[in-house]
Amino acid sequence: MSTMLHLINKSPFDRNALDTCLRLAKTGSSVLLLEDGVYAAMSGGSYAKAVSDRMGELTFYVLGPDVSARGLDDKPLIDGIDVVDYGGFVDLVVEHETAQSWL
């Protein structure tokens, strides 16, 4: 089995990409939230539970530049999500055998 990095760039409020990813992603894989996907990382949002529910099985990351762009630096993230920059994004792609974008 390859180690998978799932990429989510869609708002969970508008699109079903994260729902489907969470349904299909296997325990041990990672999820990077970027672009409008970062809204899924906010602990105050109504989507937080869906992410928290799989926190033990999946490793979640969020792209810091997209968080800052959207003015969300003052909003708390869901516990356990790591913030990475573009360099960290590259590292994640390198460390995982396959990257899957949920477009």
Partner: protein, 129 residues
């Protein structure tokens, strides 16, 4: 005095611009704002609505340095200078995203879905993007 009671025979229509998308992920927020600023010059009755992810367009403290895109959020402040004063934000959309009125870059009127629906139902032209 309401706009349509002003002098002259010209018809004044109620134009509503509806924003349902987050900023930066797509260009719709920016290009809709460009329309609204032009529309303001036409002496019509203009209102701007933010619903669903559209409410995120108004979040304070946007900093786009690291994504390399233009930060256009300060332009919303110009709406007031252009006499665009009817700015409505849906309460349910804010709450679902963990946001409050204090998070927004400009003063707005926060309305529950039911009230916002009433205002939408009164429009002559609705432009969404």
């Amino acid at each position: 005095m309401e706009p349509w009671e002003e002098d002259g025979p010209e018809v004044v229509k109620r134009f509503m611009y509806v924003n349902r998308r987050a900023p930066y992920g797509t260009i719709y927020a920016l290009e809709c704002l460009e329309v609204v600023l032009i529309a303001a010059a036409f002496d019509q009755d203009v209102s701007v609505v933010f619903v669903d992810d559209g409410v995120c367009q108004l979040k304070k403290d946007q900093d786009t340095t690291a994504i390399g895109m233009k930060n256009f959020s300060n332009t919303y402040r110009a709406l007031d200078d252009y006499d665009v004063e009817k700015i409505y934000v849906e309460k349910e959309s804010l709450e679902a995203r963990g946001l409050t009125e204090e998070d927004l870059i400009i003063p707005v009127e926060v309305l529950a879905a039911d009230q916002l629906g009433d205002i939408m139902a009164q429009q002559d032209v609705v432009i969404s993007s």
